[in-house]
Symmetry: C2
Subunit: 219 residues, 2 copies
């Protein structure tokens, strides 16, 4: 079953995420810029800030469990931004303090890269799957698929954007109706780079109250 994240899930959810994302290209490019701490610690602190200040407040955190019991441990987790979020805006503001503590003199570089990555998200309303991870003990049991289907169902007719980090996950997303947009920049580091993918919205005829883009400044 899939249920919303609760504070008691935190330790377990973080363990799953840190294990899963230790080799994630995004984190591998970013954590060398952390000051005075190792790769895993930097990942954990970044993810903690993401959960505490962004996703548990403004986004959606889905947790997969075996059953509804209070003490059923999290088997997998997915972090989503909603279509109302301007890519990166919430993240940049709410996690600024912790980012400064982790990256010190490199904060500016991390911010700039993050803004560039965000700029590759289409400017049309969409859900953004930031991360999806399944704990080692629960792999091969369809937990990832269940988390994904939960997100697809909630998105309904709305678009979804995500970055596939492996050819295998890209093929899975393709089977679910995603199409490639292109590859993200590598920022000078070695590949592989993420493949940005899009699940198209089903749009009704215009002018009936659907979400349309607002008219922000172009800059």
């Amino acid at each position: 079953m899939i249920r919303p994240y609760e504070p008691r899930d935190k330790k377990r959810v973080l363990a799953i995420l840190v294990d899963a994302f230790e080799e994630d290209p995004y984190f591998c490019r970013t954590t060398p810029l952390a000051v005075g701490m190792g790769h895993r610690e930097a990942i954990e602190r970044m993810l903690t800030a993401d959960i505490d200040y962004e996703y548990s407040v403004h986004g959606r955190i889905d947790v997969a469990c075996d059953n509804a019991a209070e003490d059923a441990p999290a088997l997998g987790v997915a972090l989503w931004d909603t279509p109302d979020a301007t890519p990166g805006r919430v993240d940049q503001v709410s996690t600024a303090g912790e980012r400064a503590r982790i990256f010190g003199r490199n904060s500016e570089t991390v911010m700039r890269r993050s803004r560039i990555e965000d700029s590759f998200q289409p400017r049309f309303p969409h859900w953004y799957l930031f991360v999806l991870a399944v704990g080692p003990a629960a792999q091969g049991r369809g937990v990832g698929t269940a988390l994904l289907n939960h997100g697809l169902k909630r998105a309904g007719d709305e678009a979804i954007y995500l970055e596939a980090t492996t050819p295998k996950s890209a093929r899975l997303y393709e089977r679910l109706g995603f199409v490639p947009l292109g590859r993200l920049p590598l920022f000078g580091s070695a590949g592989p780079n993420e493949l940005a993918m899009w699940k198209a919205p089903r749009l009704k005829a215009p002018r009936d109250g659907e979400r349309t883009p607002t008219e922000p400044s172009a800059d």
Copy 2:
């Protein structure tokens, strides 16, 4: 047959474009900002600048004719930006003079709107079909489809972005493999607004010399 635009096509090509785009939402929203001239004249001057300073120099202009004879008149035309172009950059610089003459005190507003519209183009490499038009006498003869297929074939495995202005054209593009991204903003005017659409690239494995995004500033 489809062949590249030549200067001798200009009068005919402009006539086709102006007729076709007299009711185009983009031009209908923009031309009221022209100073001291009517709707058709403003469209014609904007398109002339687009052809002279942008598409005949930096883009691709495809012309459809009945045969290869020197005097075979243009039946339809398509204007494309190449994947090397940064959306709007060429246009903004090269047509600045003429835009200032057409829009006078409103130039700034037109520039701003144009930058916003450009910002909805995905930041991944793609061909952009700016306009495709078929003259009244040639309609119903498959000229539009021939122009489109020519562009699709040239694009090969590369992505294509376009804005469908009618539900009918959106359905046609969908049959050709395009998916919706979303609707463009209306800038306060009445609808319908254009539907932005995307034909996904076929990407080879990374790191074999394919086009990847450069790393521009996020702003």
